[in-house]
Symmetry: D2
Subunit: 152 residues, 4 copies
């Protein structure tokens, strides 16, 4: 299901980073974008007690937040300048306890429609001996909606 996407906004990377920078929650979680390409966004988050659940792993809510965002900004990378984007819904399976020290969420566009975009995101933690040192710990599927800019 490899796809080639058409970039409408040549400054998409800047638009993504500016929007991400305005998300207070991402600062709070210590999350950052490490890759942004057309239809792809990778976000990493380091472990800290402030993103933990009761057993010392990453909290599913924090995992969902970065996975939703990785998917959302993958979608946003394909939108025109000035577009606004909202998450309609997301669904996430937490398939393994997400262990410290680092999470990596890779969001990809699977269908970019005029109004709706559908994405998947895979979240990985570090594991010795896993292929590439990464093992999947969560799987997300989500729907994003493009709003026309409300203008300046």
């Amino acid at each position: 299901m490899a796809a080639e996407f058409k970039v409408i906004n040549p400054d998409y990377a800047t638009a993504v980073r500016e929007s991400f920078g305005r998300q207070g929650l991402m600062h709070t979680l210590g999350a950052r974008i490490v890759t942004i390409e057309p239809g792809l966004c990778v976000i990493e988050m380091a472990y800290a007690p402030g993103v933990s659940q009761q057993y010392g792993y990453f909290h599913g809510g924090a995992i969902g937040a970065i996975a939703d965002n990785a998917a959302g900004y993958a979608a946003y990378s394909l939108m025109p300048a000035g577009a606004e984007i909202l998450t309609v819904e997301y669904k996430i399976n937490l398939i393994r306890p997400a262990v410290p020290p680092t999470l990596r969420a890779e969001g990809r566009v699977l269908r970019a429609g005029k109004t709706l975009t559908v994405c998947r995101a895979d979240v990985y933690h570090m594991k010795d001996g896993a292929p590439g040192g990464l093992e999947a710990c969560a799987l997300l599927q989500s729907t994003l909606m493009r709003l026309e800019s409300s203008g300046s």
Copy 2:
């Protein structure tokens, strides 16, 4: 679909609050449990820049985190002492922009099985003129899994 649930652990409220207290993410988000009853958990979160998205509303990831938790602790209230619980998956629709100043997530158990529990959570924001001053802004459905305690 009202249900009456059997309480196995008479100290369920204490167990829920202790577990919640160990979740670093809930401290980070400023979330707190306001109600815990058999099969019901209500969590509130005040707005702060640290839980925002790029347009100044509550971030969908923060909404998902408290909704997942409200559902999870509703499920946990029905489990025996010492049980451990994990979120298998959750799905959330963000049906309106979640506006400051306060969010309220009400999680309810719909099916408490031996291994799996299925819940819904409705998330509300404050709105003048809405019934009870509350309007739904997100809807979650989730699956939780009970693990036997890994021991003392």
Copy 3:
């Protein structure tokens, strides 16, 4: 979360039944609409070997089909004449084996937006001793999209 919905198409019930009648799958499954009201649609389906899974219960795919449809026609009841509607996505939990002889799917609109509508559907089977003789066996949450009519 009770809601009062504004009916735009006074002939919504006819529109729903005509659309339903054109769905070959509903004929195949032996499903029929038993109630259609603004924001509410109830579909029933009798058991037959042709809707079974490997253990003799109703098949989850058949359950999903009528639950998706109950939600979709609940949404359609609030749309203008000539509108077209598509299911964007649905998520269903199968919370108990769905036993013969009859299933009942109740779909309700929770949020009717301009473009997107969000619904839940609860599916029940018959059970002696359950409240009203019905017990929930599946829970759906879905997103529908309104398309403008492609014309006459």
Copy 4:
């Protein structure tokens, strides 16, 4: 996220086909298994009026049924002889109208746990000019549960 799965039941293909053969709904829909390998199941379904929705495409409920099944039998291929399997939940995005004449659902295991298995399925229709002649029209993510055999 390529994975290599351990086969526990050397007769898994026979077990899958026998179980599939007992599903009345699959007969009703005209669906058949075209590939079964460890962690992978491919199901195809030909168009017929009996699987249509109101606009003449494949019905989302029929799409969900074969996608759920492709995922479920992918999971079942990794289970021991005599195991029973149930779908806990599935979520599906219908990303394009599913056009005749043929649908192909490819289900893959992403996480095979002791009790729960998590899968994705991609559903394709035929399209001239698409890579391999196939274009994705639906995306599923699901959770399956293994039950111990109730024994003979």
